[in-house]
Symmetry: D2
């Protein structure tokens, strides 16, 4: 029962701190015979990597991943896969104020309260750098899924930044990779950019965002009720990402405002099986996938590290103020997109394996 692990049969354990020698993921339960290499993993890490454009932090981290185990002649062996990313810049430096002061909105104070230890070097274990390990592990999951369920496509994208949202009528899957915001609506992407420019340069402020991750080409029958439901595991997976404050499946919170008549996804027969008149359910009923697209959204709070002065206290309990300098993402939501995709990939692979183990791969709709 490791609290740094997730997954039932495809089990990922992440380790490492922001400023330690390295961080990584121990991935257990990947089926044998999956073709994967470091270059394949690197493409996903590069998507998350900082410093790629003006909208993200200007820190430079190569985030190069090494596979240390679990492979033989280019394929997985079914034994644990160790993924390591060395931290290139660990030199001793002046951490200034934050050695003694707690940054509001960060986990500084709660780690201190829980563990009695204050690893002030970039947040230690609570740093979002941990998500690099998730993205690496997600790459392994993607490789397995590509081989096992070739039609499955997992795509993350930003649907809201601050008060600005996308126009669903303008939704274009191909647009997502064309702008810095992984936004499916080109016009919204432009608005996001202008707003973020102003926030960063003029307002010294940051902003939240909503990320949506969709899985298309889903098999039906994935999800293990009652406490390993597909939506339960997705909710946990997304909520565990740094700065996430809300998770929605399908209609999400808006389901509260609907009536039963409006919310019904009516069923009819299509050429390849059941089809639905709508997808309010987000592709999941009773915790099990219907075969429709699985749609998950999560809200990322605005970056807590801002250049505006805020009141706080020190380790010894004295009141003071803090301005968090340094190169921070004005909208951490952007870099949360590949992290959300990685979590979706891990959860789906896990549930394919779990279905095999609990029901059998040739039974039910997945067979």
């Amino acid at each position: 029962m490791s609290m740094n692990s997730f997954g039932h049969l495809f089990r990922v354990t992440t380790w490492g701190e922001s400023h330690g020698p390295a961080l990584g993921a121990t991935v257990d339960g990947c089926p044998p015979g999956i073709a994967v290499d470091e270059a394949f993993l690197q493409q996903w890490l590069d998507k998350r990597k900082p410093g790629q454009n003006k909208n993200t932090t200007q820190r430079k981290e190569p985030d190069a991943v090494r596979i240390l185990s679990g492979m033989f002649e280019g394929r997985t062996t079914g034994t644990p896969i160790q993924l390591m990313i060395e931290n290139t810049d660990q030199r001793s430096k002046d951490y200034g104020d934050i050695v003694e002061k707690f940054r509001p909105g960060h986990a500084d104070i709660t780690y201190w309260q829980k563990y009695g230890i204050r690893d002030y070097r970039g947040g230690g274990r609570s740093s979002a750098r941990e998500t690099a390990a998730r993205v690496a592990a997600g790459g392994i999951a993607r490789a397995a899924l590509a081989q096992m369920v070739p039609d499955l496509q997992i795509t993350g994208y930003m649907v809201q930044m601050g008060a600005l949202g996308i126009d669903r009528a303008q939704f274009d899957w191909d647009e997502i990779d064309r702008n810095d915001f992984w936004c499916p609506d080109a016009q919204a992407a432009s608005a996001f950019e202008a707003h973020l420019d102003w926030l960063r340069k003029d307002d010294h402020n940051s902003v939240g965002a909503v990320i949506e991750v969709t899985a298309r080409g889903m098999p039906a029958g994935l999800g293990a009720p009652i406490y390993g439901k597909l939506d339960t595991d997705l909710a946990a997976a997304m909520m565990s990402i740094n700065a996430v404050k809300g998770v929605e499946i399908g209609e999400g919170m808006a389901a509260a405002a609907l009536t039963g008549r409006d919310n019904a996804d009516e069923i009819f027969m299509g050429p390849n099986g059941p089809e639905y008149s709508s997808n309010h359910a987000g592709g999941i009923l009773g915790g099990i996938s219907t075969g429709q697209d699985v749609v998950v959204r999560f809200a990322v709070k605005p970056t807590s590290s801002i250049l505006s002065e805020r009141r706080t206290i020190t380790k010894s309990g004295e009141e003071t103020t803090i301005i968090t300098k340094g190169r921070h993402d004005p909208c951490v939501g952007i870099r949360a997109v590949p992290v959300g995709e990685a979590m979706m990939a891990c959860v789906l692979l896990d549930h394919i394996l779990l279905h095999r183990g609990q029901v059998g791969e040739n039974q039910g709709a997945i067979g």
Copy 2:
């Protein structure tokens, strides 16, 4: 690794179907020496029990709970506690249409797709009757918390029904127990009631709701990063409840619209330790409790069983229509209130025990 269990050290496994002989919960990991009896558990079950007023289903189920193990002379022994609720009405009856037809919005079709089995008797395992077992287990957790953390108070209440929401300025903790909606705003409760009357009688429809659960008197330091964060576990716990489509902590989805400056919960020193200027975080930073109120919200979709005709298919794949007769809750959100409270109680007790096991009970802020 049971998929019908939740919790790390305080581990609850529920079992049973809507129309089997009985259902219940196997509760393991409750500390020894906790005073609890069936009457204490029954009060929470009665809160969830159907047929108590016109706003919930008119079915009559006594939902009487028996404690079959884990007790000696009125106190828990530290061994598994078996809680059983017999299903009083299991007579063979005419299930009519639903033997062959899938009810839209229900798990009928996905259980069939996954397991190849169609337990048409009231939804079988996917029925919300399963939540009675959670409420019983939550009663054990509440008894332990009452003894271990006497100041802790867990309260659930409805903050939205359909498009109608509460006025936070009218929030009154004492009002919650006074109306049929567990609503903290008396005026909103009246509006809820009028709206539900109309939906039930005139519109033959149902409606969704948002439930909020708050834990007051929280110890700081609860939560086990990275994948056993307090908010992660709460998100999973709430999302696992039938019909839930979204979960929020603190600001929740609205955090996306905030700026970093507005979202900052500034810290200062109070007489008993750190205090905060606001609680956008919902009492959790980096997955660990700050000592502020923990605030969780979840959206319950409208009841899928309605008296309006909807299109669907049969087990053999023929298109047809269905009207779901029977006595159904027009707003399942009402009865979800005690379920949400039970899940909060279980998660908090679990994290108190986990903190002891991982850190030690006299270390950190909890000691």
Copy 3:
């Protein structure tokens, strides 16, 4: 992480005490579609039941098992199966000495030291009555195995009692069911009986035994290295049985006395795949089954409750003596035979499911 559970995907949680209202097992992860009923389970419980002949305790317990959930129309549904055995005789009675005194060799003192609670009613949770729940769960596993791996045969038998052992040259599978000792050597069974008569009547003493459980018709490829090895899980399963002090696979402890040349199980090709010149390994290499018979042995210590006076202390720390009256098995090893079989069945089913989940059911030698 329940400490009253075992198994990875086929997960059994037992509950209940010697003198509570009931005891049982919550069985999760049984595949759907398995035909099983109470009568099938009862045959295994009857094999363990006390009072069947003069060699076991003369207590009468019907040990009738009820299936409370997880079934529909005579087949498992893939949801949790609740098995309950009511304790028929719970009347308040005079427990005499043992309310205050610790019985040497029993868990009385350690439960007191650990939990601070003294459930003196027949040992409470530490009673061997708990193994009835294992046997019931093992019946579920046997039903699944019969359907999934029809050639598999699991047989337990006694190979040693006190200093008396069987003659392997006289080993007869058919003899096992013919004597009260489940002994494959008729002559040894007679010797066991004579010895036990004397111990019980004249010596007021008890004796230990060695039980062997063999699985024939094994699939190759079962077992999940490194910490879910088939032998690791079997060792844990057997060591968890009351009074067991040693577990052996194949040669067991005697392997220490062998040389590498003698211990080698040479490999050649048989008509249906690899065959071996011998089975020193007990059918397991590197934690994975070879397809040979899996052979496990465990030693059961002599019953601690004897009619001879022994020194002990009271709860309050005073020195005293105790004679444990009552109707006790002079050799608990006899009734441990069906328990060992049940554990073997549970472990093997679990590893078949795990292989499917981790590798895939059509891969490797199992496909």
Copy 4:
């Protein structure tokens, strides 16, 4: 549920193969504030390291361990500790026969049967090199135990090699570190050495051994019945070590030959609490420690790699013969001593933490 992990709250996951770039252990759940460094861990690894004297393999592996995470200013932080040992010699070389042939007694054939993959490089994941990771993790456990339970002493030693056993009357704790066999009886150590010389040089053979591990200064109350009993977890821990075929607690298999009268450990009051007239139980009753010494033994089979020709088959199913050349330990039991100690340390720390989490650290005998 990683099959490459063990432990409940102190959870160790090992990774890596014999000839990959590195191997190691991800250690989660170590309490914060434990002082430990690489030099401390290295002393235990050096004890296991090959090539230290003529009795073990002459391969040279520095087995230098690096701590990559989980530390801050010389103390553990409560976050995952990554321990990495680089494999210094991975050059491509001629593996000769074993690329195609299965070595009898090794896991070559079962890994092939299970995974359909043949990592012939030194056994891949099934190599005993994996135990280096255990020893490193055990070092973390030892550091925590030294700080939390200073009186606890864990000592492993060889009590039998082939047919030669120690004389318990000559048992000397101080002798253990003085000979190459970690043997507490100097005379037996000499006999072991002479015998091994002959086996190695003249007989081209190998031999098995029995290792005993004792924990002195034990707290009472450790162990979580029913399926997390202290002896259950120790049995699993020891059986998971490469080449182990049997595990015993206290009297072990010999308990079968005892009578109840002889086996009784009578209880009386000592100056510091309960004391016992003997320790047949090996310090554990009902799965919970009594406070007496915990005594575990395990049998290690003779090294399967010997210079004598043995029959086997190839991957393609052809019959052939094999002689396993290379530098192999003639008695792997010698190097199993520090591995057994490491497993004992991990299990005991885990149960101290578990007791805290399930019962509370100031309750029961441990408080």
